[in-house]
Symmetry: C2
Subunit: 195 residues, 2 copies
Amino acid sequence: MNIKHNKEDVLKTGLGMFCNKGYNSLGIDEICKVTGMTKGAFYNAFQSKEQFLIEAILLYAKNNVNRIKAQLQPRKKLSAYERLYQFYINMLEVQPKVNFMGCFINNIMSELGSANEKVGLAATKAFDEFIDAIEPTVKEAQQNKELNSKWKARQMTELFHATFYGSLTRAKSSKDHQQSIKTIKLLFNNLKTTK
Amino acid sequence: MNIKHNKEDVLKTGLGMFCNKGYNSLGIDEICKVTGMTKGAFYNAFQSKEQFLIEAILLYAKNNVNRIKAQLQPRKKLSAYERLYQFYINMLEVQPKVNFMGCFINNIMSELGSANEKVGLAATKAFDEFIDAIEPTVKEAQQNKELNSKWKARQMTELFHATFYGSLTRAKSSKDHQQSIKTIKLLFNNLKTTK
DNA sequence: TTATTTGTACCGACCGTTCTGTTTGATTAT
DNA sequence: ATAATCAAACAGAACGGTCGGTACAAATAA
């Protein structure tokens, strides 16, 4: 294995670039320039650009599942509902600071999901892992009677995340994350149990 | 103006290609080949690929606003709520037949929304026009007391559409529109007034 | 005639990838 | 300990192809 360039570091940098530029408009030359790699080293470490992307998706999924679990973990005085709510609102509030890049998985799904089977599978798997990580907190909020229990926790999680992604994409284009926040707030208000 | 190739026809074809392949992976050569145009004619009619895309967005917006209004128009025995519901379900059900291409506006927002200001503006405008076209039916459903009136019709429309887009993108990648349909159904059930 | 539109060759830039050759560092033989 | 060997890692030029866009002459329309 290389000394100067371990795969994880390069993937991390490449992932950040994919997040900002998408797949097709980011070239390997650019990745090499930023990471200080040469093409020889790149193609020794990765078999293709497509495979590089897939490995970047896996890294993103791993990191974010951890982040999700950390942010949703029970903490001081916050109920399951409140943690969920803050989790989504926070991701929207941070958008102006990250140039409205949105969510990498959603971007990749949109750009390549239907055109490239391997990539589509990897992105779908990442999405499923996010749902897996969020679902327990939704269930907890239902057991708390904070969230409506009329529907399965998994389905409700799917609804939360789909709405989040949709409003995120809108914000990416309009550069108005306030609208997205309103949308998420409306959804939460709606699924809340009436006390 | 050209005889063989009026702009609207070429735009229509190019739009279809953009829907299937996105922006960056569709070349002008390919557009010319499919439409039977030559590059000379193309660049005589359109000033750039970017401008071509923007005109395609305008065409898509126009066509779809009309389609939306037609589909949501009062018809035999269908309440406002039912028309809305069928409108969204139908767009999801049709996805397998259109290779899970999703919604052009959503795809473009995701691919170029934050990177290209002009395109982002055009896509946002198209989105707004969709919301404008749907909102009256949401309001009507509220007045019917089919939909919860606790929130503004416009905000509810934003919620419907964001959820629709998010679940559409998921379907594009997973090729499972049934999940998306469940998500939309859950949302509708939730916003329905309890009788 | 004059103005516009079209066909085609072509431009430089860039694409992902492969190639050849070199360096490296550990392993093995002496 | 030193030398020989070897595979992996690396550098980076070069490849064939495609990109969006242009030049310009031929064709057509006014």
